[in-house]
Structures are given as structure tokens and as C-alpha cells.
């Protein structure tokens, strides 16, 4: 293997043979040769092409939809609207990264009475070619009664604001308000006496922040294909983070039993939380059913991805924090208003937990509000809700540290949570590596190297993410040559075939190359939660570990029978098994064991000991005072991985999350006009970072083993996106003397802040 200079590990040599090494991923060759099949690559005999008609208006009542001309067009095989959807139950379904009310999910698939955002789906068409399908869309007539759009928290909270959902009443921790509102819910976490805490403070900083809507930005647009058979059996091919989540959503919104639905995963071109909710799958099923049971494929355009699939929430945030003269925090208060988009379900709940989680403070109050606005329904995006609130909190902590003349790492060490300390929701933290991360950053070459040069600054911020366990199941088949077929149903979105196979190989004591992982469909493997919540390498990894243990035990059992010895005398020796004089290598053991009957084991797990993750980050920036452009010069991430199973992919997660965070911090945002039309629905104008916009991103993997996992693993995928916006805001402040309180910190915003300070005007 090549050396990877970007990373340094904080621990001594690994205690394991496979875990901690960097083998090539099993699906690698397929993916570098173009053979891997993603959602849009699927082709079936007789397949029709589907297209979706989307609302040009942000908020309107649908008076009438006339599809007759479209249906009459030669080549059109089916047209569906919300009239073809059964009325979905008003019931909350938890999909792993956020709960969804199924009625809203149904309305989001095809608008019923109202369209609630620019890009809201209204009808779908299946035709014999793409161009016919597109012509058919143009023939569908929709009569609208336009309504005033409600685009932001501020607008939504106005007393006379138009209501998006007539039946939405604010839920206040179980109490339902009488009057309808655009505020779906209000939650509060509280401990201690807030104002008493603030009275103890030598310094109180109270600031307001705004963050804009951003998108996950996966490079593969959503794609789904469905085929309904005459007997009602449904097969769906989907590029999804969770085949079982697709199955349950389709079953619910279409009123089908899950036994009638098989979901087959394709390779997936990124998701980051955005490929959990379904958009196309139920439409493909309806179209196939209406089109004489021909298969129908739907693939989104990039514009559809941006206008119509889950971005994550914009937010208005107030943070008020007090500290004593030594830097100890005396009271912390947060008010979080998160834009849910058209239907309730912003990640404000997770944000409320993330908010002050890194800080040990007895006195805090966090209020969270879930607010509907005429934007696409928010869906999960990597550590949902975390980046917004951490940007605000980490900016205020930095301001406190600076005012108290404390080093920003020292400030965080003084207040750092440790095992047993409580999160804002009062749940205690298990063993964590936060302090170790802070110390590692302080000792890093980056932090110890002074930054010089004009208009340059260094910023530090931290982030907490709780991670998740969830349910996983897997099977392992022992082949007579000693190799193991390994069937899982966790979507491999970035190398988990490798990290899972490695844990099975480690557990069974065989070479990684002998494990052949395969991602199964919903009929071939038992239930698995989505690939999300940083859970796969942790929880499905645990299943892999158990499979190894079970196979090993079964092998010993069978060898004991063959050798006519007690099973406890059969032990692992070298790469094989031994009992007294008898000794066999693993492959020979497998051949012997399978002579009489095949050997297969299965397991299901629901581990609860998912350890929390912390990431501490440091950035050096240079700000061009004439243009407001921020250049990231150097970036270091320190993160506790518990145990890095495949360090290269752990580094990749860290670097990727930070790259997304940098984009979010500096340039990404949804730009709407006053009518609520999205203006930048392309990858030209929705500005994700290019290779020219980022430096090499250094990684330091801290390994404080998670006691809740056999190899000490904790989730690593999400926490890294939480600190970048705060890190960069603090660096920009040190470079320029101005604090930016709104994301993105784009050139016009930076310029405006600099001009506010200097009094310059381009019109003078």
C-alpha cells in the first residue's frame, strides 16, 4: 500500500490483524472501470421513460389538473396525479434520520390541494421515449390560484402570515395550540436557573445568526425504476441509502403490504442523508401499474434535484452565553428556528442536542422551533441540524475566549464535557474522546506553527454528534475453499463493503481477501436500517463481528464431531484449528466442515452503545480585503474514531465532511426571488467547492475506543461537517476583525461586513 501522508494516528500499533489496515475495497475495480451499475444505469426490456411535471409556483391552490391532451399523445402510456394515490394515513414513520408524517410524504410526492414550493411534483408521465414524455408534460394543464409565498422564518412567524398547512397546530412538548400556525412544534431542554447563571457571568455575549438553505449535492441525481406484475408483485430498483426504508415508505403511501414489494439496491452515487426519503419510487410503481405492467424508469435532472429534493434547513438562531472571568461558562441559552420547508420535520431536535453538547454547564436552556416555509421539504443532511447551530455557538464561544484573552483551545478545555457529563437533553455521555481531540490539535504541527501574513487568520471550532446504532442483520456462507460469502443489506455509500468485510475477517481470523461481501435486496437479507446516522461500520460491523464468532464456533463444533474430541479442546491455532495432535488450516477446516452439510450463519443486532463522536478543527484563511474572497490556506481535522477500521476511508469521511462544510460556510446557498422561485438550480450557480477551492485537508485520527463495540468503533461519517462554518467564521474574524453572523460567508457578505467596519461605500 502507498503511504498516506495526510494522516497521523494517535495510537500505538493496532492490536488486530485486519482492522486498522488499508486494503483495496471489494467493489473498487467495478467502480474505476465503469462497470458498477448506479440508479440510472439500469435498463430493462420494454422499459418506459418517466418524467415529472413540477410546479412553477411556490405557493398556490390547485384548482384543476387536465391531463387529457397528454394521455392522448401517441407514445404516452400512463399519466398519474395525486388522484391516483390512496389517502395516506396521518402517521409518523421514523426512517432513521428524521421522522416523517406519511400524509405529508404522500402530498410531497404528488401535490394534492396545494403546491407548496417551486418544483413541487404535480403529475408524472410514462412514455416510450424521453422526448415524448417531455412533450406530454407540456400538454398537462394546471389551473392555479396563486397564494403569497412564505419564504423565511421571519415571514412565517408574522401574525398575518399566510398558512401553508391549514391543519397544522404548534405542538409544544405534547400540548397542541388551538390556532393553526406555521410553527409545527416547539421543544425545550432546560436545566438550572438560567438568569441566575447569567448573573454569575463576568461577560455575556448575545448574538443572532442566520444560515441559508443548502443541498447535500450528491453527484448522482435520484433514479428509480419499478416494475409491477399482473399478480401485484412490485419490484423497485433504487439508488437509496436504505432499501427497507424505500419498501416501508412505498408500502405506506401506496397502501401495499410489504410482502408485495421487493426493493433491489443499485450502486449509489452519494446521498449524505438526501436519499432516504422517496421521491420517485412510488411514482414509478404507479406508472408501471397504469402502463400495462411495463417497467418505468425515472431519473431526475440536476435542476429537479435542487428544486425538489431535500435540502437542509436554513435557520435563524440566537445564542446567549455567559462566562466568568476565568472562562468557565455560567449559563447558555439558545433559540433555534429551523425552516422545515413545506412540511414539518426540520432537524431542529438534533440541533438542540448538538447545540451545547461539547460544554459542561449546569445552567442552560435550548428552545427549538420547527417552522414551515414555501421551500422543498428539508431532509437529512450529514449530522442534520448540527452545522447551523455549531456555527452560532462556536462563534460566540470564540468571542468569549477572545474577550477573556484565552486561547480558543484552552477555552474549550476549561469547559469540555467528559464521560458522565450531560447533553442539553440531560442524557449522560458515555466514554468519549473530546479532551483527547482538543489536546491533539493543540499539539499538532498546524496549531504550533505560527500563522504570519496580512489579512490572515486562524480559527478553531469543535463539534459533537451523537451517532446512531439502529438494526442490522447479515448472513455468512462458508465456502468449501475457506472463503466466506457475506450478505448484508446496508447500502455501501463510500467503502462499507470493505470496513464490514474487514471486521468479519478479523473476527473469523481469516484474510480480508477471503471475505466476499454482497449487498442484497429486501427479499434476500433480513431488515437493515438505512446507511445513515454514522451507523453502518458500527452496527452492521457488529453483525459482521458476530458472524465471525458464530462461524468460528460452528467450525469448532463440527471439527470436534469429526475428530471425536470434546469441543472445548478444539482451539484456534495459527490460521486454522487444532485439537491435541490434530491440526488443520482454515481452508481445510472449511472443506471438512462442509462435507456433510453446508455451513451458513446469520445474525441480527440492535446495538445501543453507539459512542458519541467529537471533531475539533483548525483553519488558516486569507481574506482579500478588496473582493471579500476567503481562501482556505490550511485545514486540520482531529476526530475521535473510536477505532478506525479502514483508516483511509475514515480520513476520506473526515475530508469529505469538511469539504461540504467549507462549501456551506463560504458559497453554497439557495437563492430565491420574491416570488419564491429558485434562481440557482444548477451546479454552475449552486457553488459547491471544486478542486481549486480546497487545500489538502490534514487528518488526525484519535482513537478512544468505544466500549459499546467489540473493536471500539464509533461512527465517523457525520460529525466532521459540524465545525467547519464556525472554524472559518472564527478564522475570518481573526483575519479581518469582523464577525460574520450569516452563512454563507460569501464575497458580497464579507465585503459588506468590511465596509460596515470601515465606513467605505462604493457609491461615494
Amino acid at each position: 500500500m502507498p503511504s498516506v501522508p495526510a494522516s497521523s494516528s494517535e495510537t500505538a500499533a493496532p492490536a488486530w490483524r485486519v482492522v486498522g489496515t488499508r486494503p483495496v475495497r471489494p467493489d473498487g475495480v467495478d467502480k474505476v472501470t465503469g462497470r458498477a451499475l448506479y440508479g440510472a444505469d439500469l435498463s430493462l426490456p420494454g422499459m418506459l421513460t418517466g418524467r415529472v411535471l413540477r410546479s412553477p409556483l411556490a405557493h398556490a391552490r390547485i384548482k384543476k389538473i387536465d391531463t387529457s391532451a397528454a394521455r392522448a399523445l401517441p407514445g404516452v402510456r400512463a399519466v398519474v396525479t395525486s388522484a391516483d394515490l390512496p389517502r395516506a394515513a396521518d402517521r409518523i414513520e421514523d426512517l432513521g434520520e428524521g421522522a416523517i408524517n406519511l400524509r405529508y410524504l404522500s402530498d410531497n410526492l404528488l401535490a394534492g390541494e396545494k403546491v407548496l414550493y417551486h418544483g413541487h411534483a404535480i403529475a408524472a408521465v410514462a412514455a416510450t421515449s424521453a422526448s415524448i414524455a417531455e412533450q406530454a408534460l407540456a400538454l398537462i394543464r394546471v389551473d392555479y390560484e396563486p397564494l403569497a409565498p412564505v419564504m423565511t422564518v421571519t415571514e412565517a412567524l408574522k401574525p398575518d402570515a399566510p398558512l401553508l398547512l391549514a391543519d397544522l397546530h404548534t405542538d409544544r412538548m405534547g400540548q397542541r395550540d388551538a390556532a393553526p400556525s406555521n410553527v409545527a412544534s416547539h421543544l425545550r431542554h432546560e436545566r438550572g436557573k438560567l438568569e441566575e447563571g447569567f448573573r454569575k457571568a463576568a461577560l455575556i455575549i448575545d448574538r443572532r445568526f442566520r444560515t441559508e438553505t443548502v443541498h447535500q449535492g450528491y453527484i448522482e441525481p435520484q433514479a428509480a425504476t419499478a416494475q409491477v406484475q399482473a399478480d401485484g408483485q412490485v419490484t423497485i430498483w433504487s439508488s437509496t441509502q436504505g432499501i427497507f426504508a424505500v419498501r416501508s415508505q412505498v408500502a405506506e403511501v401506496l397502501g401495499l403490504p410489504v410482502s408485495q414489494i421487493k426493493v433491489v439496491p443499485t450502486e449509489i452515487g452519494g446521498g449524505f442523508g438526501g436519499k432516504i426519503s422517496v421521491y420517485l419510487e412510488p411514482l414509478a410503481v404507479l406508472l408501471s401499474r397504469h402502463a400495462g405492467f411495463l417497467p418505468v424508469r425515472l431519473v431526475m435532472s440536476r435542476t429537479e434535484v435542487l428544486t425538489s429534493t431535500g435540502p437542509t434547513s436554513g435557520s435563524d438562531i440566537r445564542i446567549r452565553i455567559g462566562a466568568d472571568a476565568e472562562g468557565r461558562l455560567t449559563a447558555m441559552q439558545a433559540e433555534l428556528y429551523y425552516e422545515a420547508g413545506a412540511y414539518p420535520g426540520s432537524p431542529v431536535g438534533a440541533a438542540a442536542v448538538v447545540s451545547f453538547a461539547p460544554y459542561a454547564c449546569d445552567t442552560m436552556r435550548v428552545d427549538g422551533y420547527d417552522v414551515v416555509v414555501n421551500r422543498p421539504r428539508a431532509s437529512a443532511y450529514r449530522a442534520p441540524g448540527g452545522t447551523n447551530v455549531a456555527f452560532a455557538v462556536e462563534s460566540v464561544i470564540d468571542e468569549l475566549a477572545e474577550s477573556l484573552d484565552l486561547d480558543p483551545i484552552e477555552m474549550r478545555l476549561i469547559n469540555a464535557v467528559r464521560e458522565g457529563d450531560r447533553r442539553p437533553d440531560n442524557l449522560p455521555l458515555s466514554k468519549i474522546g473530546y479532551v483527547e481531540c482538543l489536546q491533539a490539535l493543540r499539539q499538532s504541527d498546524h496549531y504550533r506553527t505560527p500563522l504570519t501574513g496580512r489579512h490572515r487568520g486562524r480559527g478553531v471550532a469543535c463539534g459533537y454528534w451523537g451517532n446512531w446504532g439502529g438494526q442490522s442483520s447479515a448472513t455468512a456462507v462458508l465456502n468449501s475453499d475457506g472463503s466466506v460469502g457475506f450478505n448484508v443489506a446496508s447500502t455501501d455509500i463510500g467503502g462499507s463493503r470493505a470496513s464490514l468485510a474487514m471486521q468479519l475477517a478479523e473476527s473469523l481470523g481469516i484474510d480480508y481477501s477471503q471475505v466476499k461481501p454482497r449487498i442484497g435486496d429486501t427479499d434476500s437479507v433480513s431488515y437493515n436500517d438505512v446507511t445513515g446516522g454514522s451507523r453502518t461500520t458500527f452496527a452492521t460491523g457488529w453483525a459482521a463481528y458476530e458472524l465471525g464468532q458464530k462461524l468460528s464456533a460452528e467450525l469448532r463444533q463440527r471439527l470436534a464431531l469429526l475428530w471425536e474430541v470434546p469441543v472445548d479442546t478444539v482451539t484456534r491455532q495459527g490460521d486454522g484449528f487444532a485439537a491435541g495432535e490434530k491440526r488443520v488450516g482454515f481452508a481445510e477446516a472449511a472443506r471438512l466442515a462442509c462435507e456433510d452439510a453446508p455451513l451458513m450463519v446469520s445474525t441480527t443486532v440492535h446495538p445501543k452503545g453507539y459512542g458519541a463522536a467529537f471533531s475539533v478543527q483548525c483553519a488558516d484563511v486569507e481574506v482579500d480585503p478588496d473582493t471579500g474572497k476567503v481562501t482556505v490556506l490550511r485545514y486540520t481535522i482531529v476526530q475521535d474514531a473510536g477505532k478506525a477500521v479502514h483508516p483511509s476511508y475514515v480520513e476520506g469521511q473526515m475530508q469529505g465532511g469538511v469539504a461540504q462544510g467549507i462549501g456551506w460556510a463560504l458559497n453554497e446557498e439557495y437563492v430565491y426571488n420574491e416570488k419564491g422561485e429558485l434562481l440557482n438550480g444548477s451546479l454552475l450557480d449552486y457553488r459547491m467547492p471544486t478542486a481549486c477551492d480546497l487545500p489538502m485537508i490534514d487528518t488526525v485520527i484519535v482513537e478512544v475506543p468505544n466500549p459499546g463495540h467489540p473493536y471500539g468503533v464509533r461512527g465517523v461519517g457525520e460529525v466532521n461537517i459540524i465545525p467547519p462554518a464556525g472554524t472559518l467564521a472564527n478564522a475570518i474574524h481573526r483575519a479581518t476583525g469582523v464577525r460574520l453572523t450569516a452563512l454563507p460567508m460569501s464575497p458580497p457578505r464579507v465585503l459588506a461586513a468590511l465596509w460596515d467596519k470601515s465606513g467605505y461605500s462604493p457609491f461615494a
Partner: protein, 169 residues
């Protein structure tokens, strides 16, 4: 529907003929008619690089070219990068060794851009690599490992005597 025309061109070293409609892009013909789905569609308007191919050795977005424009010309797609005996192109191997892909959807486009770069600048600087890859968006990796993989191939090849090209183009 307009009259279909026969498009003849050299694809990954082989002469191919395919019927296509005038408004079909090269990307559509590759994917839908020739079933070569290694070339990916990420945006369809030249902003993501997932559909990059080499046309007469020049890096282009196949979504912004009409298929009929390549009449008589020579095209290399990701399917033509490895040798016919299956040996991976050094860039393909380096992407695997460096874990330079996560989801992999952008990888074919990056490989073609990197090949175009190394064909023209066998020993590029880091900033040259970043410039040549700037038209390829990757949302998973932050580019770090991709840039390292390309630099590694350049250094390795510079240290070795020139050998026969692994690709037919």
C-alpha cells in the same frame, strides 16, 4: 421524430456504427444506444464533469456534444482505459490504492480528466492537477486523495522508463 442517421466512429479502439437522432447528445448515445453506462450524467450541462470523455485526445463534456458531431472521430471512455487483458490503467490502480473514491459516481470523469492532464503534463504540480480537475465535482472526498493519487501516478511514471501506453488512444 427526425430521421435517424448512422454515426460511425472509433470507440475505445474499435470501429462502431450506431443509429442516432440528430438531437441526441454523445452522452445519450453512449449510455442509451451503446449501453456504455460507465460515462455518468450528473448535471447534463457541463458543470460537473461526470460525463467527461476524450475526443481525439481532447477532454470534453459528452453532454455538450451532439453525437453526430463525432462522425469519423476517435473517442475514449472509461471502459477503454484498462488494457484488454484486464490490467488496470495506472490511474485506476492509484485511485483504488489511495481510496480516492467513495461513492464512485464521479470517478470515471476524474479518470479521464486525469489522463488528459498527464498526457499533456506528465509531471504536473499540485495546482496544475487541481486546475485540470476543477471541472469535475466530487462531493465525497474533498479531492485530497484524488489529487494525491494523480500526483503519485505522475511521480511513479516519471521514475520509470516509458512503456507502451495502456490505452488504445
Amino acid at each position: 421524430m427526425r430521421k435517424k442517421s448512422v454515426l460511425e466512429f472509433t470507440l475505445n479502439g474499435e470501429t462502431r456504427a450506431v443509429l442516432c437522432e440528430p438531437q441526441q447528445t454523445l452522452l445519450e448515445v453512449l449510455r442509451d444506444e451503446l449501453r456504455l453506462t460507465g460515462t455518468k450524467e450528473g448535471c447534463s450541462n457541463g458543470n460537473c464533469g461526470a460525463c467527461n470523455v476524450l475526443l481525439d485526445g481532447v477532454l470534453v463534456n459528452s453532454c455538450l456534444i451532439l453525437a453526430l458531431e463525432v462522425q469519423g472521430r476517435t473517442l475514449l471512455t472509461v471502459e477503454g482505459l484498462a488494457r484488454s487483458d484486464g490490467t488496470l490503467h495506472p490511474l485506476q490502480q492509484a485511485f483504488l490504492d489511495h481510496a480516492a473514491l467513495q461513492c464512485g459516481i464521479c470517478t470515471p470523469g476524474f479518470l479521464l480528466s486525469a489522463k488528459a492532464l498527464l498526457d499533456e503534463h506528465p509531471l504536473p504540480t499540485e495546482s496544475q492537477v487541481r486546475f485540470w480537475l476543477a471541472g469535475n465535482l466530487c462531493r465525497c472526498t474533498g479531492y485530497d486523495k484524488i489529487v494525491r493519487a494523480v500526483l503519485d501516478v505522475a511521480r511513479t511514471q516519471a521514475a520509470q522508463p516509458p512503456s507502451v501506453s495502456a490505452t488504445p488512444v
